[in-house]
């Protein structure tokens, strides 16, 4: 490394790249900052600044439709991410640390399928199937949303769990087996604790993905099943009030919090 300094220039620098990078960061943050600033705008309209105010947050918090949607988003995300994490953990154990076997590639493709197909396609396909099923069964509850969310959460939960498993040394489990631990004991006492950071990461990814989903929810939801994103989509299309900014800002704060926690969990592991 020291040798690089002896040159007339830093070989790692490409001219202009720094400027473009800083521009990119500005671009990434300017809209978000605008959104947040307007959430604290005391004026009735988005066109003028009416002093700092928390009134739109108060309005949003009092709005019954927003409360319902937020609660629904949370319930769906917890259930979908929970089920997806369990299923993904099992699938990850089944597809790692093994010699290739027939069907392994098929499993990879299958599990990652939701990442490959455009969301709108899955959404309308689900609309077709679920609207029929809803009529047949007479049941039109949240179960459809949870099921749909679980499916597209699985690949996101699967990725970090699989990554963790592949980096794990299997000698400890073998040692456990040598000490006459049952496979289940070995799993509970050895594999699972080692796997925990991956599982937590997988759950959080799945949770955020479910919380953010707009398209599939929009097409699968029944009457009165708006989640926070679909509620916002409906509102944005019409009269955009600063109240939407306040909701978006609160949502944003939650996402940032989750990402930060995720980031630090991952860092500690490394």
């Amino acid at each position: 490394m020291a040798r690089w300094g002896t040159r007339r220039f830093d070989i790692r620098v490409q001219p202009g790249f720094g400027t473009i990078a800083l521009f990119t960061f500005a671009l990434l943050y300017l809209p978000i900052v605008t959104l947040v600033v307007y959430a604290f705008n005391g004026s009735d309209s988005l066109s003028s600044w009416g002093g700092f105010s928390l009134r739109w947050f108060a309005d949003a918090a009092r709005n019954g439709a927003v409360q319902d949607a937020a609660l629904r988003s949370f319930i769906v995300a917890v259930l979908a991410a929970g089920i997806a994490t369990v299923a993904a953990t099992m699938a990850a154990i089944a597809t790692t640390r093994t010699a290739p076997y027939r069907g392994l590639g098929f499993k990879y493709a299958f599990i990652n399928q939701p990442l490959m197909v455009p969301e709108i396609v899955t959404a309308v396909a689900l609309l077709i199937v679920f609207s029929r099923v809803k009529v047949w069964t007479g049941y039109s509850g949240l179960g459809y949303l949870v099921l749909a969310h679980t499916a597209f959460c699985i690949p996101f939960a699967y990725l970090p769990i699989r990554a963790r498993l592949e980096g794990m040394d299997s000698s400890l489990e073998r040692a456990a087996a040598d000490l006459y631990a049952t496979p289940w004991m070995a799993f509970r006492r050895v594999t699972l604790p080692l796997l925990r950071p991956g599982i937590i990461a997988g759950f959080m990814l799945a949770f955020v993905i479910s919380l953010d989903d707009v398209v599939i929810t929009e097409f699968v939801k029944s009457g009165g099943q708006d989640t926070l994103p679909t509620y916002m989509l409906g509102q944005i299309r019409r009269a955009v009030t600063p109240e939407i900014n306040a909701i978006a800002t609160a949502f944003l704060a939650l996402s940032v919090l989750l990402v930060t926690v995720f980031f630090f969990i991952n860092r500690r592991k490394a």
Binding site: I83, V86, K134, S140, G141, G223, D226, R237
Partner: protein
């Protein structure tokens, strides 16, 4: 087995939540966006201890398609007059007999024996209004009582126009503008209608629903839109003026109906009766700024609605307004294809 427990709990919780959604004390309303007074809903919820959810739709076709698909979960839907016969014919509505309800006496006589629901066996009036022109006078100072504003826009307005995305209203204005009659099957005229729309559309900025915000803010300078929304825009920006297309403009009435597969029929009936109360009907109008059809509600209306130019039709334009009839299915099909052609 920890995960099994978790999965079992999750499954049970899902079913539990699903159950509660269908439980007593709920009402699912499916209505046009930005159209339902939150105050009205609050009052209804408090009075009957019912949890109301309102879901938006953006056109008659969207609502019909969604409900037709099944498994929608709604109790109440609010179709326009020209669509209501289709809903009835398709067997989607419950014959709720609002005409036998206590508050039905408050319905104005002219809204009782309506062609789309004679004697009101299925529906009660929600709001009625018309599609007209809204223009920012600072941008364009000429005559605005004409559909030319959006069909042959003056150059000041080109690229700043928003047109409501409701097929029948737009086709109606265009047919009348070109000298035809509604439900016409005259191919030569309809060809001209399509060509006119295809020619005009590039001069529009959007076909969207955000008029109450974007007309006053200056994003739009001219709109063909519903009168109540334009009035709400004017209240925010006094430069907005309202025009009645002299060539002809469509009048609509949206009515509250109960779906045949509604889960909360009793609550839906309570709601029907509730909105025929003059004070409550006034709440509906005070929010969305359209007229309702309930006697005595005027007394409860805010002052700004009494002489609003958007609501009081000047005598010389009264004749130009017409209630949209439901055209024969094959005519509708033809119109839909023209619309699809325009929309591409």
């Amino acid at each position: 087995m920890n995960w099994m427990k978790t999965a079992a709990i999750a499954a049970l919780a899902t079913l539990g939540f699903a159950g509660s959604a269908a439980a007593e004390g709920a009402l699912n309303i499916y209505n046009w966006g930005d159209y339902t007074s939150p105050e009205l809903i609050k009052k209804f919820e408090d009075k009957y201890k019912v949890k109301v959810t309102v879901t938006d739709y953006d056109s008659n076709d969207t609502a019909l398609a969604k409900v037709r698909a099944g498994g929608h979960g709604f109790d109440i839907v609010v179709p326009s007059a020209n669509y209501l016969p289709i809903w009835i014919k398709e067997g989607l509505l419950l014959e709720a007999r609002p005409d036998q309800m206590e508050n039905f006496k408050n319905v104005e006589a002219r809204w009782v024996d309506v062609p789309w629901d004679p004697g009101r066996h299925y529906s009660v009036p929600w709001q009625w209004g018309l599609s007209g022109i809204g223009v920012n006078k600072k941008v364009y100072g000429g005559d605005i009582n004409t559909s030319a504003i959006f069909l042959d826009p003056p150059k000041e307005l080109v690229g700043k126009i928003n047109v409501e995305p409701e097929m029948n209203d737009v086709l109606y204005a265009t047919i009348k503008y070109l000298g035809g009659e509604w439900c016409t099957t005259d191919r030569d005229l309809l060809k001209k209608v399509r060509d006119k729309l295809v020619e005009a559309k590039p001069k529009w900025l959007a076909m969207d629903y955000s008029v109450t915000e974007k007309l006053p803010s200056g994003d739009y300078a001219g709109v063909y839109y519903w009168n109540g929304a334009i009035m709400r825009a004017r209240l925010k920006n006094p430069d907005i003026a309202f025009g009645y297309p002299k060539e002809g403009y469509p009048v609509f009435m949206d009515s509250v109906t109960i779906l045949k597969d509604a889960k909360n029929v009793e609550n839906a009936k309570l709601f029907m009766n509730f909105i025929m109360e003059p004070e409550n009907a006034a709440l509906i109008s005070a929010f969305a700024k359209y007229a309702n059809g309930i006697k005595g509600s005027d007394a409860f209306l805010p002052a700004d609605m009494k002489d609003a130019p958007e609501l009081v039709i000047p005598p010389q334009f009264e004749k130009a307004g017409e209630f949209l009839k439901t055209c024969a299915p094959e005519v509708s099909e033809l119109y839909t294809r023209i619309w699809t052609d325009v929309n591409k």
